[in-house]
Structures are given as C-alpha cells and as structure tokens.
Symmetry: C2
Subunit: 339 residues, 2 copies
DNA sequence: ACTTGGCACTCGGTTGCGACGAGTGCCAGG
DNA sequence: CCTGGCACTCGTCGCAACCGAGTGCCAAGT
C-alpha cells in the first residue's frame, strides 16, 4: 500500500511545506529532492497518499499539503529527533545555571524553550502532589492568626494565612509546630493524610481544636486542592507567520490564557517519560485544534515533577521541537533533583 | 484658534472613530451628531483641526482620523470619566471577594480588569520597597542550609535559600532568628538597612560571620534587588479588531512579554494617585508606540503599593478604560490594606 | 507492472480598466 | 461666518483576460 518511495514522498512534502509554507507540487518536489523518479511518478504517489488521507489540496490546481494524519505518520515513522547543536546545548546550560530559586528556574526554562523552538513554551511548576515535604513552618503572625509555609523538596513554597477562632500562646504554636514538623518532614504528599491521621488523638487535648483546623488547611492546600501553576512564554512567536493562523489567532491566545487548559495539555499524558505529540484535531482543547503540542514530563526519575512543552502551528519542525523539549526537560529535571 | 464648535467636532470624530474604526467624513458626522451646522462648515473646522495636527487623513479622499495629539486633547479636555454601571461594580466586588491570598488577589484583579475593559490588563504585585516587614522566618533546612522567608504586610512572601560555609546548630539559628526578628518586625523596607546597621556589633561573636552573610542576603533580596513582579491577562483582546494592529501585533506581544517593560510602563508615573494616559508615540517603549496605556497606582494611601493598568489600541474607549482602571485600583488598594 | 512524457484542463492570483462613491478643497453668494 | 455648489481625488469594487503552477489521465516505453 505504502511502499518506501511513497513514504519518502510524504517526508519530502512535509519537509518542504514546513520550510516554505507553500503547497508543494510534483515538479518542484522531484527537483529539490533526489528521488530518482520523474514528476509524473511523484504525481501518482501523491494521488495514492491523498487517497489514504495523508495529504490534501487546498484547491484543485494547487500543490499538496500534509493533513494532520500525514504529520502524524511523519512524526511516528519518518522523522528522527534532531540532536541539538553544541551551541544550543551551551545555550541551555548557560541559561539555566545561575538560577537562584525555583521561580527563577521555571522562568528561565520557559524563556529558553521559547527561544530554542521559536514557539510558545509552557512549563509547569513542580506538581505539589508528586513532591515531598521538606519543611512545614508555622508562623505566629498575630494572637489569632497563623501563617503556614510549606517548603517542598523541589524548592516550591506554598503559604496560607489562617484565622483562628481562639487566641493562641506562643507555646501552643510551638507545640503545633513540633507536632506537624515531626510527622510531615520528608513525607511524600501522597502519604500526608496517613501521616496525619492519628495526630488529633496523640496531641495534648488543649490544642486539639486548633490542631484539627490547622490540619484541615494543610490537607486542603497540599492534598485536596493543590494549586498547580504554569509559566508561559513566546506567545509573540504565534505571529511569526501570519499565514499559519489567519483568523484563528484569537482562540489560540484565549486558550493559552487559561491555566486550566495549559495544565490539561501538559497533564494528559499517559507515559510521562517519552515525548508526546498532539497534532491539530487530536487536541482535546477546542481552541488549539489548529496547533500542535509537544510535551514531556520532567523530574529526577522521569516525569515525576511535572510537564513542559511547546505549542505551535501544525506546520512546525517536529524533529527540532521534540529534541529541544526533551533536552530542556532533562536539564530542568536534573537541576531540580540536585537542588 | 479652537473655538467650542471645533472641539465639539473633534470629540465627535474621536467618538465615531472609536466606535466604528472607520475614517469619519464631514457629511456622516454632521448627520449623526446634532451639531447644528452643515457638512461644509464641518469641513472647514476639520481643515483647521488638521492644520493644528489633531486629525489626519489616511489618504486624500478619505475621512479623518484622530492623531495621537487629537486623542490627547480629547482625553485631557473633552472626555469625562465614565462611571461604572452597577453591574460592573457588582462584578468587581464579587470577583475580588473570596480571594484567599495575595497571588489570588492579583490574578483575579488582572482578569477582572481585562474583562471589564476588554483590553490587555497589567497588575503589579505590591512592590517590596514600599511595604513593611511583617515577619522574617529563618528555617534550618540542613546543617549548612538556611531558608529565609520574609512576609510583608501586603501579604507578599519572598523566600531565598542560603548555603552556609559552616555548620550551624539549631540554637544558633534560634539566636539568628531572634536577632533579626526583633529588629525587622514592622520595619518599612526603606528603614531596613538602618535597622540592621548595628546588628553585627550587638551579636554574640560566635555567630557573627553567619549573621553578616544572612544580613547580606536579606539586604540583597529586600533592598538591593527587590524582585518586582507583574501579572498580565487579556492578550487575546489585542486580536479583537484585526484592523488595529495590521502587522504590528508582533512587537506589541513581544513588549508585553518583558517584565521589565511592563514595570517601566506602570512605574514611570510621577504622581501615582491619578490616572495616567500615554497615547501612541508618547510611550517610551518601542514596541508599544501603536498602543495607548492607562495606568494608576494603588494602595492604602494612593499609589504606595504598586501600579496597574491596561494596554490597548490608541483607538480605545478612554473614558471607560480610565473609569475601570481607577475603580479596580481602588478596590484592590482597600482589599490589600485591610488584609 | 511500473515508470514516463505528453496533453488537456482547472483554478487561484495578478493585472488592467472603468464605474462608483465617499470625501475633500475651494469659491461665490447669502 | 455659514452654506450650497462643483470639480477633483482616490480607494474600492466588479469584471474580464491572462498566466502559470499543478493536476489527472492515457498511451507508450522498459
């Protein structure tokens, strides 16, 4: 059905179209690539590819452009990941070293990724639910007011102010601090509920009511409604080729402003260790049906912290994007694991 | 030179152009507004206005559009701030109540402002340098590693990890905590250097070296390089009228991605208590010469915390934008002051 | 059976041209 | 100082012709 040459033709079409953004015809294609056959043969192959739904015409007498299905085949079978140039590797290293805290790491990576791929880049902050508690600090802001600060092993810090129904003494706060500190230190978030389960019973009765309300907030902040965050950069790249999003720029920008949408993009991968590519209509997000999304997980043991990726036109350089996304994920993962 | 009727004509031109986005001609203008004079008279006035540089033609036989200078005059003398509708007031209140922490307040306000004005909204996080320290917490992460957490009265929290050359005991950390806590509590950031000046001398010699290095980091984080942050929302609104930014969308998006640029926008006001409007070429930022920027400071006593504003086409509804910006600033200021 | 050259056909893009009309500038008269 | 009239400008629209890249198909060649 699809012999090697037809695949080669498809690859050539994709490559030409990606670089020129113009429908590619049989003649120019036969010239530019050393296919060893005449344009007429290429035409026959093209007709076959079109029957199979891998390419299409914008109109009768125009060249071919790949369909989503065509890109899919290209990505899966015809392209190999483009290794980064030494210059790019250097760029990554110099960009990421010198970051002072987690915020800085994330902001730098997202800009870096946008710059490398010349697409819109998205980086998720290390997910709370997959990290471990390094420290829980309870600050006695006012007699009836506590600030809870949780520091995770990824460097992420969450804080929450808590109004108490009753007034607390510093001693009691110290007791609280001690009670929580001992149980939470080093606990994976998943184990937090279990670690805290017997806490009310074990505590001195005096502070029990306060303790439970603090516990509620802790569980809420860390387990029930863990706040996921993402950073984004490079939206200006969407305008690079005006042809890519003729009148569809609007919904894309709108989609990219929704944190929820971005998290969905990055989160809905089954296997976080490999790079995932969603092409055009494959995207579950309405406004991004005209784009492709390349994502991967990152973290010390692959994908445990969060995800990152790029969003661009379906007409993107997949090989390069996949390479960059993977490389940045690797560096960021190492960086955060080592911190 | 510019009698009342000419000003009225200018106002009419601005209003028509803002709502239709089409060059406005003498005839339609005379009809749509009850000017009480004939188109010919309007033409004469237009010619005068053009001589003065308030309006211009795109080409010889087209209607007039306002110049930056025309908008300037309009904003300064011809428009009154549009009061918010009750529905809008309700929207503001319901949007902002229920915010759980500072991050939440900022994120909600920026979205709110974008929604109200249908422009790009920018909100600066309360500036460190203008707030006071509520609490400084020193966490002993590891024998040679400290985490400094500073909580400001605006609810803003800054953290910084600090590697120590030597190993510290918990006792020593407690001493540090005590030494800093006493002096910093309630200090305005501006007074922090003075408050800490005599600290090394007063401290027990044993912890003196560590103390100075902690002091350095504190000063650096809070005073020397206070990190300013901004939130942005509504970039999709830039695409609302494709005509506004024919091929200039790119530089606008690029400018809006630069934190530095945004801070400059919001920060370079002399008097933070009143609403400022920068129109087109008045903008010092290169990429935003095709936009107008409406900004104001917010805070308990006007402008002490930070700034916020909107960015949109020069062809924007200034009266409404100014009103919304001012209203949101007021609410946010109150909210943060009360927290 | 596959490849190839030839050939008629399609159709979008470009160019040229004329009509149209919104809008202007100017002037003479009220 | 306002007004109506009038000639002029110029961008837009519609139309027709043309060009050319590209296609599909077929018959001949290997």
């Amino acid at each position: 059905m699809l012999d090697d040459r037809k695949l080669e033709v498809l690859r050539a079409i994709v490559e030409d179209f990606v670089s020129t953004n113009e429908p590619v015809g049989s003649k120019s294609l036969a010239e530019r690539h050393a296919l060893g056959v005449s344009p007429a043969t290429v035409r026959n192959d093209m007709a076959a590819l079109e029957d199979e739904g891998f390419i299409t015409h914008p109109h009768t007498s125009a060249g071919r452009i790949p369909t989503d299905k065509g890109y899919r085949l290209f990505v899966d079978r015809l392209s190999s990941v483009k290794p980064l140039s030494p210059a790019e590797r250097r760029a990554i290293e110099s960009f990421l070293t010198g970051a002072v805290d987690l915020d800085d790491v994330v902001r730098r990576s997202v800009r870096l990724l946008a710059q490398l791929t010349r697409q819109v880049a998205v980086v998720q902050y290390p997910s709370l639910s997959r990290s471990a508690v390094r420290h829980l600090e309870i600050v006695h802001l006012a007699p009836n007011r506590l600030l809870l600060v949780t520091i995770m092993d990824t460097g992420r810090v969450e804080q929450r102010v808590l109004e108490l129904p009753a007034v607390l003494s510093d001693d009691e706060v110290a007791q609280l601090r001690q009670a929580f500190g001992a149980r939470l230190h080093g606990a994976k978030l998943i184990d937090v509920p279990a670690a805290l389960a017997d806490l009310p019973d074990a505590a001195p009765p005096a502070i029990r009511p306060v303790l439970t309300s603090v516990m509620t907030v802790v569980l809420e902040t860390l387990v029930d409604q863990p706040e996921e965050r993402v950073a984004i950069a490079g939206t200006a790249n969407l305008t690079r080729s005006a042809l890519d999003f003729p009148n569809t720029l609007r919904p894309v920008l709108e989609a990219l402003e929704e944190q929820v949408v971005l998290l969905k993009l990055i989160g809905e991968v089954n296997d976080p260790t490999t790079v995932h590519v969603k092409i055009g209509e494959e995207n579950s997000v309405e406004g991004l049906r005209s784009t492709s999304v390349v994502t991967v997980g990152y973290g010390p043991e692959a994908g445990t912290y969060g995800g990152l990726g790029v969003v661009g036109p379906t007409r993107m350089d997949y090989a390069a994007s996949i390479g960059s996304v993977r490389a940045v994920a690797r560096y960021v993962g190492e960086l955060l694991a080592g911190a």
